[in-house]
Amino acid sequence: MDSSRERLQKTAKKVHFELSTILRIALLVVVDIGLIWFITQLMINGFYDVAVVLIIIVVFNTYVFLAPKAYPLRWMAVGLSALLLFAIFPIIYTTYVAFTNYGDGHLLTRVQAVEQIQRELYLPEEGRAFEWIAFRSDAGEYLLWIKDSEGNTFLVRETDADYDERILEVIPGEFGIGELDEGGAPVTIEGFTRLNRILATTDPNLTRIKFGDPEKTIQVRSPSEAAELLPRYLYDEENDTFTDQITGIVYFERQGTFTSQQGRTLTPGFRATVGFENFENFLTNPALRGPLAIILTWNFAFAFLSVFLTFALGLAISILYGDPNFPGKKILRSLLIIPYTIPSLITILIWRGILNENIGIVNAVLRNLINYAPAWTTNQWWAKAAVLIVNLWLGYPYFMLVTSGALQSIPSDIYEAAEVDGARGWNKFWNITLPLLLVAVGPLLIASFIFNFNNFNLIYVFIQGGPPIPGASTRAGYTDILISYVYNLAFEGGRGVNYGFASAISIVIFIFIALMALAQFKFTNMWEEVSENV
């Protein structure tokens, strides 16, 4: 009996196993087909960089779900894919953009820019000419009848008119065309008046209007002649140059812009790698360097002071009220933790109202008390003070919580020993409490520094980086930190967006954060911890 039941169990397990394998592979096939379709669509649209990332993801997932060796990775395949697409790829892409001129005037790809330059036309002095007669509608719409040297005739509409066909054959009866005269031109067209020679030559619009298609554009050259426009810039694929057909000037490709020997340029430019130019701009371009130096200095000062002030206040509170017998301790803690419990964006907005320069409550009270109202938003020093006050309010509860925990973990016999040696009050604090505490919360101080170094929300939402630095070539303010400056460069392009330069600054921040983070991990011994667990 027993053995038959066991066998039954075994077969059941086997069936279950095979079923789950089939299900797994079926699901994989469905997902892969979907993704491959998606990738093809991306490729068709020319989005190669994102397509490549998705190809890597498809290959990775297929391997992981088929190879028995990669079994553990199945548990994290989706998470890793998301990480690759939305965390790792953006970092790589930003690095790439930092070495390009991507930004205003260089938003297009090279192919798009070449196409657009080729579309530029000019009216040649000589060349193939047509006889012409013009027609005008009451609404001011023009039609041009033309006849080439071989006697072929056409009617052409204006290039910007909203019709599918702009070049029509002259057949009486169609499009309201009436009888033809001996030259082959319509005598009447329904809805239009045929302009006689005098009317036509005195019409100021006529020589300006372009007729026909982008491929075949015709313009009136003289009272007797109309001519087909020719591409103004001729592209030489072999040498990668454009030649101006009017002046004969040759334009060479130089860092994303076609530029002549004399320094004249063609628009639009295109995205191209420019080496370290964006990084050199930090140091050499005075319009960028000036504000950047101010911003960088303030960025460090702001992060340092924020950590210092929040830590100092948090620690002071933990020491003052750390006594477990202190009456009302619980309620005090609940009240002091309040800044931490409100989403910071909301409280930053509230502080914006409280510290409003003209009608805020703080200034109203100060005006009454000392007859002076600080310019929280227009004076750079008051603005900096305001930012620090708000950040102190936002940040001290965190350190209050952290340090009160850490203080309790300092063994009391250390103090007893110190008291025997004659240590008192401040002495004890400086020589025992603080050093021991710093070891415990050191990593958190570094983390807090990193966080505040990039505290975009506070700077951007509270004061938008203001007050503005005069003479800056891009939007920059006295309270701007690097990350808010980057955001201005990339997205708030009042004076033009510059993704390349923005990305270059991002890279500098990247490197800085990485160094800080490594220091933090060293501090925490996290690396060692993982290794021990293996």
Binding site: F38, L42, N45, V50, Y71, P72, W75, M76, G79, L80, A82, L83, L85, F86, A87, P90, I91, Y93, T94, I319, L320, D323, N325, F326, G328, L332, L336, Y340, I342, P343, S344, L345, I346, T347, L349, I350, R352, G353, I354, N356, I359, W393, Y398, L401, S412, L444, A447, I450, F451, V461, V486, S506, I513, A514, F521, T524, V530, S531, N533, V534
Partner: protein
Amino acid sequence: MSELAKKTKKPRSMTQQRRLGIIIRWVIAVFLIFFSVFPLLWIISASLNPTGTLATARLIPQNPGFKNFQDLVGNPTFPFFRWFWNSVKITTITTILTLSLTTMAAYAFSRFRFSGRTTMLKAILLIQVFPNLLSIVALFLILTQFGTIIPRIGLNTHLGLIIVYLGGAMGMNIWLMKGYMDTIPRDIDESAHVDGASDWQIFWKLILPLLRPILVVIGILSFIGTYGDFIVARTLLKTTELYTIMVGLQIYTSGMFSQKWGIFAAGALISALPIMVIYLVLQDQIVGGLTQGAVKG
């Protein structure tokens, strides 16, 4: 501090000195409490003030009432409850997905041994240190390109925003989760293995129920983080109807801020409430999770 406790055992004069100390500390505490609570009181009073502008705001409003709260309903220029719903929806979905991705990955990191395991753990942590605002140009580009093919996951969609958030799902969370799982003895799964249970059954029926405390912590941290996110949502969402509450409040107030102070106050109060309640109720658990190294933001 412990030294104080010891001093109480000493003679009377010490007790008197201690009483004085407590009084001085409470005087200081009053100032601290005022600093800490003032913005909250201020916004509560503004939300109850029917005149509704910043200039007329008083700490104790005249004729207090709920007019500002009523104005929040069906307000076409300030579709507050639509934004609130958007936020709750996006945040809940993101949190659930984050928890599933994190828990499963942490299970593999905790229970299986494979090559590259420690390297991957370190790399995941290091990558998450970079604020995604720095690479937002790339995120913007990815969603733009996705959107030209499948508009539902493109720029200016909730689904697109959620998948971007998922890029940051792992990271610190994995460390917290794996650390907790490591404390669950492996004998449990081994004996289950002997009984013929599959890895999935062990994970689902044995391990997962034991993870409740850490699931709560990571869930709350992820919820608060996503709910409070401003800049990613601000960059990727363009239509007023689609805004999250943080984006809506910020954009609304950058207009005629001081005129609409009352309505803003009412909205701010309602949006802050869920998080405040979570914090005050689950204080100790959150603090435990935070001190593992995460910083508010």
